[in-house]
């Protein structure tokens, strides 16, 4: 019991950060599934959502600012696709990727310009940011609700993809982009929908992430974005359950490194991040398409 309450914080942090990675990873994996594009701007959409919350909450009550932030984030995700990716639909895949990197830098520098380079303190959200005690370990409520909320959202998403018409269109588009167009699927609205869902989840993810780690900087999206991308590849890019499982594994593993650190004489906390990436290499070595990946692969 004593051992548990000592080490529970590691596990809690791992599960909650894993859930937040999962929400971002789904955005990567869905866009890749349909467009075969790695949307490098996704981590920055996540950052922009956090930054907007800082400014929105300063001028309006929470019950207004939360929905507003989510809606505006979705709009930004939609706009990014329309402005930066859609005109390049027929261009080589490399051009779209460069465009994605461009959007990423644009958003970061915009944030730098607006914030003046200073870290912004994320607001305290009632209930979510409150302190709770779980089995003797003190933490924020967000840590506890994140995994549940993540799983619920993923189940809803899978239902949407399996049961609805737009979901069917998405599956068709990811199977064969050209043929689905010939079959009368409005490919542009399918792609827009993908970006809307991805941005929505990124906005929710940012709400949970920044409630825990309350400082927003222009480059704050880079590391979670990278980890989420690793999680998506880990689980097999294109697969939604894969992204979920991959994200939880990465989140928990990097905190387990810290737990193990207590029992070894050498300081291994240095390798907290390296561990996630090393794990990825090992998995890809044995299963090149990731845990749940499809057989066929494309070069980017």
């Amino acid at each position: 019991m004593d051992w548990l309450s000592r080490n529970l914080p590691y596990l809690l942090a791992g599960i909650s950060v894993g859930g937040q990675y999962a929400l971002i990873a789904i955005g990567y994996t869905m866009v890749y599934g349909i467009l075969r594009l790695i949307n490098f701007a996704h981590g920055d959409i996540f950052m922009v959502a956090g930054l907007m919350m800082v400014y929105a909450s300063a001028s309006m009550p929470m019950y207004l600012s939360i929905p507003l932030v989510i809606i505006v984030t979705v709009l930004i995700g939609f706009m990014v696709e329309r402005v930066a990716y859609k005109p390049l639909r027929q261009a080589p895949r490399m051009s779209v990727m460069i465009s994605a990197i461009g959007v990423s830098y644009l958003l970061q520098n915009l944030a730098l310009y607006i914030t003046g380079g200073l870290a912004q303190q994320y607001p305290h959200i009632p209930w979510i940011s409150d302190q709770v005690t779980v089995l003797g370990a003190s933490t924020k409520r967000v840590t506890v609700i994140t995994p549940f909320l993540t799983v619920i959202l993923v189940v809803l998403l899978v239902l949407l993809i399996k049961k609805t018409k737009i979901g069917m269109a998405m599956r068709a588009a990811s199977k064969d982009f050209e043929t689905s167009q010939l079959m009368g699927i409005k490919i542009n609205s399918v792609i827009s929908m993908t970006f809307i869902i991805g941005s929505f989840l990124a906005a929710v993810g940012s709400l949970l992430f920044f409630s825990n780690y309350t400082s927003v900087t222009p480059t704050v999206g880079t590391l979670p974005g990278l980890k989420a991308f690793v999680a998506a590849v880990f689980g097999g890019i294109g697969s939604i359950p894969g992204a979920l499982v991959g994200a939880f594994i990465i989140g928990i593993c990097e905190n387990l490194v810290m737990l193990l650190n207590q029992y070894v004489s050498f300081d291994i906390s240095n390798f907290k991040d390296a561990f996630a990436f090393a794990l990825l290499i090992i998995i890809l070595f044995f299963k090149p398409t990731g845990l749940f990946g499809e057989k066929q692969t494309d070069k980017v």
């Binding site: 380079g117 303190q121 825990n212 309350t214 590391l223 905190n255 300081d267 906390s269």
Partner: protein, 389 residues
């Protein structure tokens, strides 16, 4: 053809205007401000720059060898980044500055040092506390105390005030300041019979909960975190949320109103060492507050209130040291100023008398210890300590 004609006219006009501008520029001396305005140390860099801008506003001219020069601050952003800092330093060299002030953050000072060394431009470090800065580059001088001193002060404080002699030292990977101060603290603390458990976090890390849990599980009685302000905000917040309950000890970087804002109303115990305590020089405090409140940009750069940061006082002193060096040199040529710097003594600096030793470091043997008052959101003075070696 027409296009060509046009460009010829434009370049001719530009050449003429440059020639016309020359006589006016002859009476201007440029001081390079090499500070971060963004990145990890953006907040601190801006406050340090504020001190120089304030000094410039009350002493806009300097008389050197019987000629009155206008002093112009040439401000560049080194982005708190060792790779980008070099190009910021090169820009100052290209602009032809006579002397450089800065930077906040030892890493970027070391990164830019070679550029200043090659150009032979003297640099006056304001709050870069890592010994390597002046050791590696003879053109670098500095007006603050060093990390081996600061680390020893903090280690002594920790050893005297916390019974169980185990400290958790949390540093950032690849950060010269953080690693350096962590090292000196460890050295001093172990010499005093303490035990140190270390943790290191990577660039861009947001999750400190596992580090804090490790500190608790290691049985530490104090956490020493020589980190940037950004990391400080996260560490404080998460320490309070996790109910860690260990005192947080830190160096001069934490002396910021951003840290106070993060700590306000939370159950945390923060202790830091610093260069200047607000109230040390009433005239300076009053003047700088008026300067900060008088301009919306200044107010934003100071974090939204008019609390006087120690680095602002240091920035102010650095400007005056630069002017004193120019007057002593009787010239605005970098080489002359460099030659005059070792002999410069500024008696009435707000952070205490400034003079340099043979390494180019300021002779300082006292530091202020402050604690964060989480109720009022201000720093409370604890002690002025010095260590005799």
């Amino acid at each position: 053809m027409k296009k060509k004609m046009f460009s010829v006219i434009v370049s001719a006009a530009m050449a003429v205007s440059m020639v016309c501008a020359l006589p006016a520029m002859a009476d201007t001396v440029k001081i390079g401000v090499y500070e971060p305005a963004s990145g990890d140390n953006g907040a601190g860099g801006k406050q340090e720059t504020l001190g120089m801008q304030y000094a410039n506003s009350i002493r806009p001219t300097v008389e050197i060898g019987g000629v009155t020069y206008d002093v112009e601050l040439d401000i560049v952003d080194n982005e708190s980044n060792n790779d980008k800092a070099v190009s910021a330093a090169s820009k100052l060299v290209t602009d032809g500055v006579s002397v450089v002030l800065g930077s906040y953050g030892s890493g970027v000072s070391i990164a830019g040092g070679q550029t200043f060394q090659d150009a032979g431009i003297p640099a006056i470090g304001v709050t870069c506390t890592n010994p390597q800065v002046t050791l590696a580059y003879p053109v670098y001088y500095r007006i603050c105390f060093l990390d081996n001193f600061q680390g020893a002060v903090l280690a002594n404080y920790a050893a005297e005030n916390y019974e169980n002699k185990v400290a958790y030292v949390l540093t950032k990977q690849g950060d010269d300041y953080s690693a350096g101060l962590g090292y000196y603290f460890t050295q001093a603390y172990e010499a005093l019979g303490g035990e140190v458990v270390t943790g290191a976090f990577p660039e861009g890390n947001s999750d400190f909960t596992s580090y804090l849990t490790s500190a608790k599980n290691a049985g530490a009685s104090v956490i020493f975190a020589p980190t940037s302000i950004e990391a400080a905000q996260l560490i404080i917040e998460q320490s309070a949320a996790q109910g860690i309950g260990l005192p947080l000890l830190a160096g001069d970087t934490w002396d910021s109103n951003m840290v106070l804002a993060a700590a306000e109303g939370k159950d945390v115990d923060i202790l830091i060492t610093t260069f200047y305590q607000e109230g040390g020089n009433a005239e300076f405090d009053e003047g700088v507050k008026a300067f900060i409140n008088g301009d919306a940009t200044n107010l934003a750069n100071n974090g939204g209130n008019d609390m006087v940061a120690a680095v602002t006082a240091m920035g102010y002193d650095a400007y005056n040291v630069a002017l004193a060096a120019m007057q002593a040199a009787g010239s605005t040529a970098p080489a002359d100023i460099l030659a005059a710097l070792p002999g410069v003594v500024v008696e009435d600096a707000v952070s205490g008398k400034i003079q340099f030793d043979e390494n180019g470091d300021a002779v300082r043997n006292s530091a202020f210890v402050k604690t964060a008052n989480t109720e009022t959101g201000t720093w409370d003075f604890v002690a002025e300590t010095s260590i005799s070696e």
